[in-house]
């Protein structure tokens, strides 16, 4: 009887832990709508959702990486590289516009994954090298960033700009990816392996989990998603902008962690990540609503918000019994 009662309590706190970000998000939205007239408008909501969708795609990949106990700092650079390559490739048609960035980013992810899995080097440092190297590569193919390739292919452009019910296609693509990722994580052997190696890599290996293969897969996935986000963004902007993506990896990590995924690996989920991404978007939108903050104050406010959110999220989940 005690065990049933305690397990119910644990279930409740587990739900809190997983959905803490969602609750903070709901609170912010309510406060925001009550404070600003122009906050809860369809247009504003759409702009938050649309602009969040690219970060969301990256954060989904990051969620897999972090649950597996790793981290991927290269996503910001892959995002730009993906965009530049997509814009370049779009001269040769829709297929190239997608194949080129995905191929290149996939290769980078594969290399990073192989190095991490085979040599046991820290993911942080391997992907930090990735961050530098990929940005260097991007600069190299864009004449030190001076050349911006434009998207002339209407089919590809509409992938980023086309609208359905007031939301652009990337939003739907993101939603679909999130669903697939959820199933992948919760309902497939691959997902279980990701949790297992993040929770206890040694044990996972002894339990017969293909550790190296899973790790490689996770980094490939993250890189592919970052490249895809970059390509979609290039389609949206109709050009391969070269100055994007600096610090994007930190946003993605923040979103994932705010979403309740443990940075030490082994626990977390996609719903939390999506909530985390939206949370960051809403914070930004609220700051914009205020309208006249100087740039420095904006930073103070978003730093304070971030601290507040993680503390709130942490306190909500503190009910969780510590082992």
């Amino acid at each position: 009887m005690t065990s049933i009662a305690s397990s119910r309590r644990e279930q409740v706190s587990r739900v809190l832990q997983q959905h803490g970000a969602l609750m903070v998000l709901a609170m912010l939205v309510i406060v925001g709508s009550l404070t600003f007239d122009s906050f809860a408008t369809a247009g504003n909501a759409a702009s938050v959702v649309v602009s969040s969708s690219f970060l969301a795609v990256i954060a989904i990949g990051m969620t897999f990486v972090i649950i597996s106990g790793g981290i991927d700092l290269s996503v910001g650079s892959l995002f730009v590289l993906g965009g530049v390559l997509a814009a370049y490739g779009s001269q040769y048609g829709l297929l190239m516009a997608l194949a080129l960035p995905l191929g290149a980013c996939g290769v980078v992810g594969l290399l990073q994954g192989l190095v991490i899995a085979r040599t046991g080097m820290a993911p942080f440092i391997v992907t930090l090298a990735g961050l530098l190297g990929v940005r260097g590569l991007m600069l190299a193919i864009s004449d030190e960033g001076a050349t911006t390739y434009l998207v002339k292919n209407p089919a590809f452009a509409s992938l980023g700009q086309g609208e359905l019910l007031g939301l652009t296609y990337p939003v739907y693509i993101t939603a679909a990816l999130a669903l697939v990722a959820m199933v992948l994580l919760q309902r497939t052997g691959f997902g279980q392996n990701v949790y297992a190696i993040g929770g206890n890599e040694q044990a996972a290996a002894l339990m017969g989990v293909p550790v190296a293969r899973t790790k490689v897969a996770v980094y490939v996935m993250s890189a592919l998603l970052a490249g895809l986000a970059g390509a979609l963004n290039a389609a949206r902007l109709s050009s391969g902008v070269t100055i994007l993506g600096i610090g994007l990896e930190l946003d993605a990590i923040a979103a994932v962690v705010i979403g309740g995924t443990l940075l030490t690996g082994g626990a977390g989920g996609i719903t939390g990540t999506v909530a985390g991404v939206l949370l960051l978007g809403v914070i930004q939108s609220l700051i914009n609503q205020v309208g006249n903050l100087t740039s420095a104050f904006q930073q103070v406010v978003s730093g304070a918000f971030l601290a507040l959110v993680v503390v709130a999220q942490r306190l909500l989940s503190k009910a969780q019994r510590l082992s």
Binding site: T41, S47, E144, S238, I246, S295
Partner: protein
């Protein structure tokens, strides 16, 4: 308590005002309210959005934002919404989209990048919100995608800097370039203009070193320290903004160089740089005037009044050198 302020008192509001290069619309096509297809509204009661690209943390951005805000206040525009993209391009796109969602009727944008404005332009076009871009261009069609551009010609700035360098070195010598942030239009155009003019007018000048100083003073100092160490025979330094030039000055001082032995030419026209000319450390500075407020709102008002406005308003920047530095100190920003 900070140190006593050392620079001259702030310039009066009219000092250093922007001057339009070619009297309005003499060249190029023009644009009217009818052509653009918008509706007339009263600027005073309208909601106006200003999207700044970088933090208000260097003299240029500070002066730019201040000029817009001051002018709006002067004209009695009560509803001015200002956003700042903190140098993140994606954020700037979102910022502007949210401004449009908040119902602004006129947008003034200082773009971080010239390309990639598709989503914003579409949304603005759907709502017929006129966009005036200041200091950097947007690569799109004036008078339909956006209204007009007001700003300097960066390419031209590079060329003028080259002219000054050629003067200073009498047409021959070795020059180093402190590049701006990579991938930035300003960097690209100021570099191209400079190199073009050097190649064309002074083949005796060799550009033997170019490294990014990322528009920051510390980076400029560090790169220059490395530079003068490994290339002691350098004669001139072209810095693509004043901050890097001032960093280079600190480096030269630290290495025990005398003022003026290495000729430094830079772009922007901040007060410290003009002071640097007066002190003999800088050779010349090409101005890039950030005070867009008056011109922007004047142009908007003209447009709303139904007058034809030019599709680009290029302002005439001046140069500072030893001949005018001391006197112009009050006008520099």
């Amino acid at each position: 308590k900070s140190e006593e302020p050392q620079s001259a008192p702030a310039a009066t509001s009219t000092a250093g005002q922007q001057v339009v290069q070619s009297p309005s619309g003499s060249a190029g096509p023009t644009c009217t309210l009818d052509q653009f297809g918008g509706k007339k509204f009263d600027l005073k009661t309208a909601t106006v959005g200003f999207s700044q690209s970088e933090k208000e943390a260097n003299p240029f951005r500070i002066a730019e934002t201040k000029s817009i805000k001051d002018e709006a206040a002067k004209l009695g525009i009560a509803n001015l919404k200002v956003t700042n993209a903190q140098s993140q391009f994606s954020k700037q796109i979102t910022d502007v989209q949210q401004l449009i969602a908040q119902g602004v009727q006129l947008l003034v944008i200082a773009p971080l990048n010239s390309d990639g404005w598709e989503p914003v332009l579409q949304q603005a076009a759907a709502k017929k919100v006129p966009i005036i871009t200041v200091d950097r261009k947007i690569n799109a069609k004036a008078c339909s995608d956006y209204l007009t551009f007001i700003g300097s010609d960066f390419h031209e700035q590079g060329k003028r800097a080259a002219d000054r360098m050629i003067d200073a070195l009498a047409g021959k010598g070795k020059v180093a370039i402190l590049l701006g942030a990579p991938g930035n239009n300003v960097t690209t155009e100021r570099t191209d203009g400079f190199k073009e003019r050097i190649a064309e007018k002074a083949p005796g000048i060799q550009i033997s070193f170019e490294q990014t100083g990322e528009f920051a003073r510390e980076k400029g100092q560090q790169v220059t320290e490395q530079l003068i160490q490994s290339n002691p025979d350098i004669n001139g330094i072209y810095a693509e903004n004043d901050e890097m030039a001032l960093g280079a000055v600190t480096a030269l001082k630290g290495a025990g160089k005398e003022a003026g032995t290495i000729k430094i030419v830079s772009v922007d026209g901040t007060r410290s740089a003009v002071q640097g000319i007066a002190d003999g450390w800088l050779h010349a500075v090409i101005e890039s005037n950030p005070r867009f407020g008056p011109l922007a709102f004047e142009t908007a008002q003209k447009f709303l009044d139904g007058q034809a406005i030019p599709d680009k308003v290029v302002i005439s920047d001046r140069d500072y050198d030893t001949s005018n530095a001391k006197d112009s100190l009050g006008e520099a920003y």
